[in-house]
Amino acid sequence: MKAPESENLALAVHHRAQGAFEKLVDEFEPRLFNYANRILDNRFDAQEVVQDAFLRAHDALTRQYEAARVEALAVKPWLFRIVRNLAFNKRRGSKTRLDEPLTAFDDGRIGPLVSGCSVTAALEEHQERQALEQALSTLPASSRELIVLRFMEEMSYADISKTVGLDESALRGRVFRSLKLLRDALSQNEVTHAV
């Protein structure tokens, strides 16, 4: 899941090649915004974080890092990590943690994903997509971010590890638990709908 093109892009930014930074912004902005927004659950804060992240990335690529370091840089996880740090800093700053669900992290036994809730066929429906969206929003930020990185960004565990800073086997467990939480939230929703 490497993206050699964006790696060269970082080097181009380092050398201040014409239009390189714009290309970097165009390529990553929507995805970084999505990530920040899923962590912060606030579009304006997310916007600010992404903007700040690009300024920092630009400064690092053009001033702080030497060419060799830029060349060795895994750009995608690096950018996501900058956004992640800024986003979680911002969360910490805004004391209201009310958006965090009370049943934060179920570290108990991992059971199989029961196929009882019918994500299978029904998810093509717009309604079902909304249900998934809704379920995702009830998850703790630590799970939401993993779902985004793994399933929306389709990043490898190695890259997620670079972004989040945990080792791969720990991440595998967390990703699975996050999926389980998502499934629980989804089936809970369905029950409420039925009643």
Binding site: R16, H58, P112, V119, R172
Partner: protein, 296 residues
Amino acid sequence: MQCRSVLTRIDALRTGELERGDSVEVESHLHTCGSCHDSLTDVENFATAVRSLAAPRRPGQESLVSTLCDSFDSIDVDGTRVWIAYSSNGVRAVDMRASTADEFRKSYGVRCRRELRQQPVPERYRKAVAAALRGELSSAPDVDLTGRTDFEQTVLRIIAEIPRGEVRTYEWVAREAGRPKAVRAVGNIMASNPVPLVLPCHRVVPTSGGIGNYGYGPAMKRKLLAAEGTPVEELETLAREGVRYVGSRTTKIFCFPTCRDARRIRDANKVGFHDLGETRELGYRPCKRCTPAVAA
């Protein structure tokens, strides 16, 4: 392998990220355990479903590029090529040195730590810069000094107020900026003025007299000042005589030589001073318009 270990590995198996030994074990478990096999299908379904979620729209229509990057282009003023960088808040940089767009873009990147996109310069900035180069600019357009220190910004705002056709000393600027000893610092700020011509650093001269140096050479400074109606030759003559202030015998007020009030004094009533001590001895007070000294 137990179900628990298998379940945390099925997602990595899905994308072929497991080490070989691991994946053989997990696969053989999946053949025998129906429940774990179902979980693999579920993970696959979830992966597809989550991927289909639309990315949320960020607020605002404008691309982030336009807030992260500034714009630039060159204009031609009577055969001189002038590079102008600007943001949505005002002029960011003016330069007559760079010979190519790339050279200007890169030097701007180093100085201002921002990227530039080539885009036509708005009419009002083009007109202002052209007028400034011809010595005809009466009021400066908006400038964007983001990234400069407070003191730099203060100093640059002060020199913007020096009237066309007049000059002030570095000492005067430092005093006006509230740091009378920072004469050297003012000199450095003039030397690194990001928007020469528009913010008239050429109207700042040495306290010892004369017109002093300029980023584009003293000849350019002389030409600009002359075009603005500054009596350059008179300034140089006074400098040779060591005269730094002129006063009026009738009003007992003294000024900088280029102050428009000083230029109204009749030759018969005009008196030159070499330093502030002389003015005090003779009981002259500083002009309130050009403030050559703090009023006693």
